[in-house]
Symmetry: C2
Subunit: 175 residues, 2 copies
DNA sequence: ATTTATTTGAAACGATCGTTCCATTTGTCC
DNA sequence: GGACAAATGGAACGATCGTTTCAAATAAAT
C-alpha cells in the first residue's frame, strides 16, 4: 500500500497507469483488481491511508506541554524536511489541484480533511490563548485556517524552492 | 488560445486529451498539429500565455503611489475573486503539483516564474521600506518569498474553501 | 487560367489506457 | 487423496491516447 501511495504521490492520479501500479506492487492484474476493485477506489484508499499517517504528525493538545510550541514544532519539522530535500509536496495538496474540480467525492474528502486539520489547530490555538501564549484577541478560527493555508503554500512552494526556513518563521510570527 | 488555457486549467495536463482540445477549439486535428506542433509544446505555450496575462496583474513600483498598498490591493483582489466563486486555483500552481517532478522544462519555467514574482515583491517591499510603510528591519527577500508562498496557499485552499478574507488579512499583517 | 502552395477533412496509425475473462495453479477442508 | 474454493498468470477486450498520413479543397502566385 505504501508503494501505491508513493506512486500516486509522485505521478498524480492521471499520471499513474495501471501498468505502473502492477509493476510497482509486483501483484498480478487479476489479484490487483480482486484486492482493490478499480483504480479510482484504490486512489481513494490511498488518500485515506496517507491521511491517517499524516494526521499522526499533527500534535494534539496533550502532546506538548506548550500548545504553541506544538504548532511551532510541526512547522519547523516540515521546514527541515523541505530543506533536507523533500520536494514531493503533499499528496493531498497535489490531488487537490488535480482532481477537486472533476471529482465531487475527492472534493468532499479534501474538505473533510481540511476541517479536521483546522479543528486540530483551533484546539491548539485556544489552549495557547488560555495560557497566554497567543494573543486572546485573535480569532482562533481565522488563525487556524491561516495556518492551514500557509501549510499548503509551503508544500507547493517547496517543490520549486527548498530555502523556506525564513518563510516558516514569518508564518509562525502570526501566532 | 484562451480556450486552450481554460481547458488545461480546469482538467490539468494529463487530464486534457487531444480530443478535448480539438473539440474546444473547433480546429481540425491537422490544423491543430500544424499550428501547435504537439500537446506538450502547446502546454508550454499555454503556460507562457497565462503567465503574461497574470503578471500584468502584479503591480509594479510605479502603479500605485503607495507600494505597500499595491501589495495589499493585489491580495485583496484575489481574496475577492475567491469569495465571488473563482475556485479554479492558479494554472501555474496546479501544474506545479502535477508536472514539476516529471518535467524538468516545466520545473525551470516555474522556478523562473517564481523568481519573477518574488523580484516584483522585493521591489515593492523595498520601496515601502524606504518610505516607512514597512519595517526596514525586515528582510525583503524573505518577506517576498513569504508572500509568494502565501499566494500559493491561498490559491490551493480556495479550491475547497471560499471564505479566505480573514486569512488574507492575516497574511497582510506581516507587512 | 493554370500552376503552385497551403490548409482542411477524415480515416487510420501503433501504443497504451483501464478492465475482464478464463484456464491453470495453489491452497483448504472433508 | 479427492472435492472444492481462492488466487494467479497472461492473453485479450473495447476504448481512447497522441500523432501521422493523404487526398480533397482552398488560397496564392504566375
Amino acid at each position: 500500500m505504501d508503494v501505491v501511495v508513493e506512486l500516486f504521490w509522485k505521478k498524480g492520479y492521471n499520471g499513474t497507469s495501471m501498468q505502473d501500479l502492477v509493476d510497482a506492487t509486483g501483484l498480478n492484474r487479476s489479484s490487483f483488481y480482486n484486492t482493490f476493485v478499480d483504480k479510482f477506489t484504490l486512489f481513494e484508499a490511498s488518500l485515506t491511508h496517507y491521511q491517517q499517517k499524516q494526521n499522526q504528525l499533527i500534535p494534539t493538545v496533550n502532546t506538548f506541554k506548550s500548545p504553541k510550541q506544538a504548532i511551532t514544532s510541526l512547522f519547523k519539522g516540515i521546514s527541515k524536511d523541505i530543506m533536507n530535500g523533500d520536494q514531493k509536496g503533499c499528496l493531498l495538496t497535489n490531488c487537490t489541484t488535480e482532481l477537486v474540480k472533476q471529482e465531487p467525492r475527492i472534493k468532499s474528502f479534501l474538505q473533510d480533511n481540511k476541517n479536521k486539520i483546522v479543528n486540530s489547530f483551533i484546539s491548539l490555538i485556544q489552549a495557547a490563548q488560555e495560557n497566554g501564549e497567543i494573543d486572546p484577541e485573535k480569532d482562533s478560527q481565522t488563525l487556524a485556517l491561516y495556518l492551514f493555508s500557509s501549510l499548503q503554500g509551503l508544500r507547493v512552494t517547496s517543490m520549486i524552492d527548498t530555502q523556506l526556513e525564513g518563510v516558516t518563521e514569518e508564518i509562525l510570527r502570526s501566532i
